[in-house]
């Protein structure tokens, strides 16, 4: 399969990439290419110009300072999976993305810009309360993960805006986990649940839960959170809270060739319970 013809430039800096993409009517950013190249081959995407971020070193790497971890947009899933600086929910989810070859190429920025409903990172970043830092012709801004994902393959990125990095708060008293049921061929999520919890005196003090893979965009599981917040953490309270995920998934549950909507609904509480239990077990 061949993509249609396009021109190619390798940007040397974020500024150049912003300038190149915004000054061209049909340009696309290229990162790891593991969503874009398949789309080019199928001619679902037919840009006239690809602006390759691949060699912008400033966009790569994970650094930790003062209670936050910053992850460059071009950081690969393999690097995230191997990182001890990231919250467990992120490194765990990264290690479950695709396969080793995919993790060696796919990047954080590409994953979230693509906003595939079956992706893992949108779910993780919502649960972590991440800030997505972007750069455009109007300058830089930060978008909370809760507001970044708008719909199926749709984000709140403006035309020409480039994701530069993702920042997540880290607190040592929190435990987090990611649990997913996946398509056995691609490993894309059929349903993934991410949870981050802080416990004090056996009671759930802080909780963020998100789900993806079963809805057009990843969602915050507010009903699950409300059911467990302030409660003692045990199997009964976890099962009870996890059952509330049905209300969070709502009416728009996806049914496709991999899994029916009914199947997704039927597994949701169990997957949520596993994520909550694993996160609680890791909280100190």
């Amino acid at each position: 399969m061949y993509p249609s013809k396009f021109d190619y430039v390798r940007a040397q800096s974020v500024e150049e990439a912003v300038e190149r993409t915004s000054s061209h009517s049909n340009a696309k950013i290229l990162a790891g290419g593991h969503s874009l190249i398949p789309a080019l081959k199928l001619r679902l995407a037919q840009p006239d110009l690809l602006v390759d971020l691949g060699r912008i070193a400033a966009l790569k790497g994970i650094s930790r300072h003062n209670g936050t971890v910053s992850v460059g947009a071009l950081t690969t899933h393999a690097a995230c999976a191997a990182s001890d600086d990231l919250p467990k929910v992120w490194s765990e989810a990264a290690g479950l993305i695709g396969d080793p070859q995919v993790r060696n190429r796919g990047t954080v920025g590409g994953n979230i810009a693509h906003a595939d409903p079956a992706s893992d990172l949108p779910t993780v970043l919502i649960a972590l309360g991440a800030q997505i830092h972007v750069q455009g012709t109007a300058g830089p801004r930060a978008i909370p993960a809760d507001e970044f994902f708008v719909d199926l393959f749709t984000t709140s990125l403006e035309e020409g805006e480039i994701i530069t990095r993702v920042e997540v708060p880290v607190e040592s008293n929190q435990g987090s986990a990611y649990t997913k049921v996946f398509n056995p061929a691609s490993r894309y999520a059929i349903l993934g649940v991410a949870a981050q919890v802080a416990i004090a005196g056996g009671v759930c003090r802080q909780l963020r839960v998100a789900a993806g893979g079963s809805t057009p965009k990843a969602i915050r599981a507010h009903h699950v959170e409300a059911a467990l917040q302030g409660q003692p953490i045990n199997d009964t309270t976890i099962q009870h809270a996890a059952a509330a995920i049905a209300d969070d998934l709502g009416e728009e549950v996806i049914g496709d060739m991999y899994a029916s909507a009914a199947y997704r609904r039927s597994i949701a509480a169990q997957i949520a319970a596993r994520a909550l239990s694993a996160a609680a077990a890791r909280a100190r």
């Binding site: 399969m1 061949y2 993509p3 249609s4 013809k5 396009f6 021109d7 190619y8 390798r10 290229l30 290419g33 593991h34 190249i37 398949p38 080019l40 081959k41 690809l50 390759d52 691949g54 393999a78 695709g98 396969d99 080793p100 070859q101 995919v102 060696n104 190429r105 061929a185 691609s186 490993r187």
Partner: protein, 151 residues
Amino acid sequence: MTAINVVVNGKSYTREVEPRLLLVDFIRDTLSLTGTNIACDTSQCGACTIHLDGQAVKSCTVLAVQADGSTITTIEGLANGKLHPMQQAFWDQHGLQCGYCTPGMIMAAAKLVEDNPEITEAEIRHGLEGNLCRCTGYQNIIAAVAQAAKA
């Protein structure tokens, strides 16, 4: 056309390529190194796996222009005088049937063992998730990788 320079199996090549040329086609058609196979062409099967700057990647999902300045090893470059331990193990354990998936399997497996010399059977199975064998000869493939890990 865009000029790229790559070192493939220790040899430097400079070529003019169309930006849309896939790395796997560059390797097979431009450089005539046809050991790397194309099977699914949809990033799923791993038949096209090569080492790009020391990492196993699916070369059907990389543009040749993205590889400019990189060092590449293909199946042809793995043996060094004698068969690489992974090649020898595939031979000894009969880790292939039709052989179509084999170059990709060997390239992916060689990296797995290099990164994790103490690799367990479960880790081998997990680590080869990106490589499909249409002949379904997985049992012997796993045995071959386990042998190579001990070599």
